[in-house]
Symmetry: C2
Subunit: 227 residues, 2 copies
């Protein structure tokens, strides 16, 4: 019935991708899908797809692949993706504003309920669909509004300090876009770092190897693990 063991981290990642893919497939009206088809769309082997899905228990019809709707539901239940979490955006620079205005989180289990910035000037001139608050109210508002998740888009210098305020406010998870690795004391808070600049470095490095290995070689490339 319920998942016996917590799955490995890569498995969680891939199941989340499969969940998203199922959404897209449903949107297109596709009702059934095979492990190899999923693998192709996700750039992984059919083996791992089956292993991952199998962690959920038996889901597919043996000769005929998986029912897309069922698969999606089962993954959603097992990973706790069905609920809607309350999110906020902290730091309303270029990236923060973009995320704040992004429609589509709503469809994916998140409601953005607040924005924060240290620059009160910016708060006054910005138009937004949700309430904006000055940074010093961060902790209180997070607690009062029962915010689950923060999208942290502040400069590197203030990232650690801001994260600590979020934790004090009782946040449950943080998606960190600042180019530092946060160190959060509380084990009750989940943190994930998405460092775009570092992604560019990785890309540059891979391209560099690519060039020097005379058009042959392969080093997996891909790999969407952790931003």
């Amino acid at each position: 019935m319920e998942p016996q063991t917590t799955p490995s981290f890569p498995t969680v990642q891939r199941l989340c991708s499969v969940y998203g893919l199922c959404g897209a497939l449903l949107h297109d009206g596709t009702e059934r899908v095979s492990s190899s088809a999923i693998g192709q769309r996700l750039g992984v082997s059919a083996f791992v797809v089956r292993k991952d899905i199998n962690w959920l228990g038996e889901v597919g019809q043996v000769g005929a692949g998986y029912d897309v709707a069922t698969l999606r539901t089962r993954i959603g239940e097992a990973l706790g993706l069905e609920r809607t979490l309350r999110a906020c955006v902290v730091g309303l620079g270029k990236l923060g504003s973009a995320l704040l205005q992004h429609k589509g989180f709503a469809l994916e289990g998140y409601t953005v309920v607040a924005g924060f910035d240290a620059n009160t000037n910016r708060l006054e001139t910005m138009r937004a669909a949700v309430p904006l608050y000055p940074a010093h109210e961060l902790q209180d508002v997070v607690r009062r509004e029962r915010i689950d998740t923060a999208l942290l888009c502040v400069p590197a210098e203030s990232a650690q300090r801001t994260a600590e305020a979020l934790v004090q406010g009782g946040i449950r998870s943080i998606l960190n876009f600042a180019p530092v690795v946060l160190s959060v004391a509380s084990a009750a808070v989940v943190v994930r770092d998405v460092d775009i600049v570092n992604e560019l470095r990785v890309l540059s490095a891979l391209a560099s190897f690519q060039e020097s290995s005379g058009s042959g070689e392969h080093l997996d490339k891909r790999n969407t693990k952790g931003a």
Copy 2:
């Protein structure tokens, strides 16, 4: 002298992070650093840091850690991060505009030289420091301007099609922000997918496990692999 074997993917990622960290340390005026200090800042063990750095050959002074400047240079040389690549932003929606205006790529080995969008209206009303072009000129401009890298910020539906145009234009690497996995035929092109919505799902799943495992347990969390 030169790297014998291509390092594993996780090693490349971490070395890129170390490279970035060295930059920050130099900025602070720190001249020497130990593997354990690096490990702490990056959220990994000192063992892996040493193993990774050791792939470069001997770098540190045995009793006294690493010289930050030397370390940075060695990593830069080995991974090909010293050169400056020419980049463009494709798709000037919220995220694309934010990236286009982001200062700081310049400091990290990238020059943004062009922007593209299918909406000509948007091109006219936008102010930007670099030339903007309509989407149908993508392939030609990429070739003419010798653009190495594309930051792909178009909607999911057009991502695959756009990527193919980029490849036709002779692009070397693509950082894809669209929530699909690109399938690129040419082995000469490096692709990396950064799916923010999927990161949110992963975060949600991890938080869910976190809750159900009664404040104990640990599932590595962290892990910045690939976004």
